[in-house]
Amino acid sequence: MRTTGTLIHEHKLERSCVFLLLLFLVALCGVSRVRAGDASTAVAAGTNAMAAATNAPAPPQQPDSVAYPPGANAGNEQDFTWPVPAKTMDNLGMTNAPTPLYAKPTMDEMIQNEAHNKVSINIVWTLVTGFLVMFMQAGFALVETGLCRAKNAAHVMAMNFMIYGLGMLGFWICGFAIMFGGYYNGPVAIGWQPSLGQGLALLNVEHGITIGDIKWGFMGGAGFFLNPSVFDTSIFCLFLFQMVFMDTTATIPTGAMAERWNFKNFIIYGFWVGMFPYAFFGNWVWGGGWLAQLGQTMGLGHGHVDFAGSSVVHMCGGMIALSGAAVLGPRLGKFGPDGKARPIPGHNLVYVMLGTFILAFGWFGFNPGSTLAGTDNRIAIIAVNTMLASASGALAACLMMYFKFGKPDPSMMCNGMLAGLVAITAPCAFVSSWGAVLIGLVAGTLVVYSVFFIEGKLKVDDPVGAISVHGACGAWGVLSLGLFANGTYGAGWNGVHKLIKGGEVMRILNDGPASIAKYNEMTGSGPTGGWTDMGVTGALGKLFHGPMNDWSQFGAQCCGTLTCFVFVAGFAYVWFKFSNLVFPIRSVKDDEMEGLDVPEMGAECYPDYHLTDKSSPRVG
C-alpha cells in the first residue's frame, strides 16, 4: 500500500511531465514552420511534375479534386504509363454529365480518366492494406498477452493498446517528416512515377552529408505535423500506410519487455519510438537515404533492398527490444541462483495462436501492400510467397521442437510462423516459391536456436521471443534477399539498372539525360540494343533460375543489417538509459510480484477468477 504522501508526489511528477511534453510540442511546431518554408521554396524551384499539374488547362473533373488542394495532383497524363485495356470507348465519358452517355470522350478526357483510375486503384489498395496492417496490432496484443502471466494481462494489453496512438502521434510530429520528407529525391528507376500520384513531389527536402561529390541522404525535412505544405491525398495515404508500419516496430519491444516495464516510462518511449529510431533508419532505406544510395554510390547491387521491412520494421523493433530487455533486466525469478533459466509459461495459448493467425492475416497487407500500387500485379506473387514462408516457418519450428524435446511446443510453432513471415518480408517480391519455402524453413529453425541463445547465453529475458522472431529472423530476411533474389523483379531499383546480354553485364545509373538516352539505346532494338534490364539478383541467383549471381547485392544487404544492429540497438540503449532517469524503467519489486495489473493499471484483467499464479518461479 502506498501512503498518501507518495501519491501526491507522483501526481506532481505527472503534471510536470505533461507540461514538459507540451513545451516540447510547441518547440517542434516552431521547427516545422521553418521546415515548411524550406519545402515550399524547394517546390517552387524544383519539380517539373508539380508545375505540370498546376499549369494543366482544365482542372480534373473528379469528385475528390474539385476543391484545391487535396487531390488536385491525383492524376494527369504523367500517370498514364500503360495502354488502355478497354475495347469499347463509348462508356468512358461518364464525367461529362450534360452530354449523352454515348458521346465519345476526347483523348484528353480519356487520359485523365485512366490516369485518375490508376492512381485511385493504388490509393485504395494502399489504404486497405494499411487497414490490414493496423489490425496486426490486435494480433501483437494477443500474442504478447497470451505468453505472459494472468496477473499482468491488463498491463500487457494496455501497453499494446496505447502504443498505437502514442507512436502515431510521434510519427505525426516528426517521424514521417524525417523518414519520407525527401522521398521524391531518392534514387529511382528510369521512367519512375510515384504510384500514389504526383502529390508525392511535395516530399522533396532531404538533408544529407556531402563527402566528396556524393551527398549521402541522412534525414527528410518536409511534412512535420503533416502541415499545410503537404496537404495532399497521396501524402496522407502514404502517411497512413507508413504509420501502421512504424506501429509494428513500436509494439515489438512491448513483448520482450513485458511484465516488468513501468508504464510511465513506456509512455515516453511511445513518443520516442514514433519520432526517431524507426524514422531515421527508414529514411536511409526507403526514404532515399544513404543505404538506398549504396548501389549508385558504392556499386553494391541495387543498394540495400528491403521490400516490406524485414530490417526497417522487424529488425529495428527487435533491436529496440534487445536493448530494452537488456536494460530492464530479467523478470524476478527468471534466472535461478545457478544462473539457469526457469520457464515462466504464458497464461493463454488460445490468445497466442489466435493472435498469430491475425498477424498472418495482417501480413497480406504488410507485404503485398508495400508495392504501394494495386496496379502492380506482382502482388499475387508476393502474397503467395508470404504464405508459403509462414507455413514452412511454422513447420520447421514444430519439427525442431519434436526432434529436440519430443513435443512440439505450441508457443514455438507460433514463433516459427512469425519467423517465416518476418524473414519473407524483405525478399517476398524478389524470390521464387522455392526460395520462399527455403527462407521460411531456415527462419523457423533459426528462431528456435535464437530463443535458446538469447535466454541461455545472453541471459536476456524475452517472455515472447520478440528479439528472436523480429531481430534474428529480420536479419536473416534481408540477408536471404541478397542470396536468393532471382532477378525477375525490381529492375532499376534504387536507380541502378543492370543490363545483361549474353552473359555480359552493364550498369546504368539513373543520373541524368545522358544515362537515360544510353539506357533507351541499349534496351531498344537497334544494332547496339537487345540488352535485358535485370531485376534485383542475389549471390545465389542462378540457383533459382536467375540470370546471374551478384555478390555485391549481398554486400549491400550486409551493410543494411550491420547498420540496423549498430544504430538502432545503440540508439535504443542510450534512450532507455536516459529515460530511466526521467521515469524509472523498472516496475517496483512488490508490484511485479503482485502482478502489475492492480498496482500500475488499477484494474484486474480477470476479477472473477481466482488466480493461483502457479507459473511464477520462486524469487531469489
Binding site: 539457469k340 520457464p343 529436440k404 511446443d409 541461455g456
Partner: protein
C-alpha cells in the same frame, strides 16, 4: 453420519456421479482442486527449459451420508474412479456430528 471426501481424476467425475446416483445417493459437492501425492507431478519443456508441473488438477468430491450407506458409496466410487494407474486419487472418511437443512431447519439424517 459420515462424510466421504474423495480426490479423483477430473475426467472420472461423471462416471463417479452416475455410480453414486445408481445406489440412490442424491447430493454431493464437487470442487476443482490441484495437488500432488507420492509420485509428485511430471516434468515438461516450455520454450526449451524444463519445468515441473507439481500441482495436478483433481476433483474433490464431498458427500455426507448415513453410516449404513458408507460401504456401498465407497465401493461405487472405487468402481467408477479406478484406472489402475498412478494418480487415481484417495478417499477419506470423517465423522459428522450434525447436519442442518437451512430452509426447513431440520437436523440430523433427515437433513441430508
Amino acid at each position: 453420519m459420515k462424510k466421504i471426501e474423495a480426490i479423483i481424476k477430473p475426467f472420472k467425475v461423471e462416471e463417479v456421479k452416475d455410480a453414486l446416483a445408481e445406489i440412490g445417493l442424491e447430493g454431493m459437492t464437487v470442487t476443482e482442486v490441484k495437488g500432488f501425492g507420492r509420485q509428485k507431478g511430471h516434468t515438461e519443456i516450455y520454450r526449451g527449459s524444463e519445468y515441473t508441473v507439481d500441482f495436478l488438477p483433481k476433483i474433490k468430491l464431498e458427500i455426507v451420508l448415513p453410516d449404513t450407506r458408507v460401504d456401498a458409496a465407497v465401493k461405487a466410487i472405487i468402481g467408477a474412479a479406478k484406472t489402475g494407474k498412478i494418480g487415481d486419487g484417495k478417499i477419506f472418511l470423517f465423522d459428522v456430528h450434525e447436519a442442518i437443512r437451512i430452509r426447513t431447519e431440520e437436523s440430523g439424517e433427515k437433513a441430508i
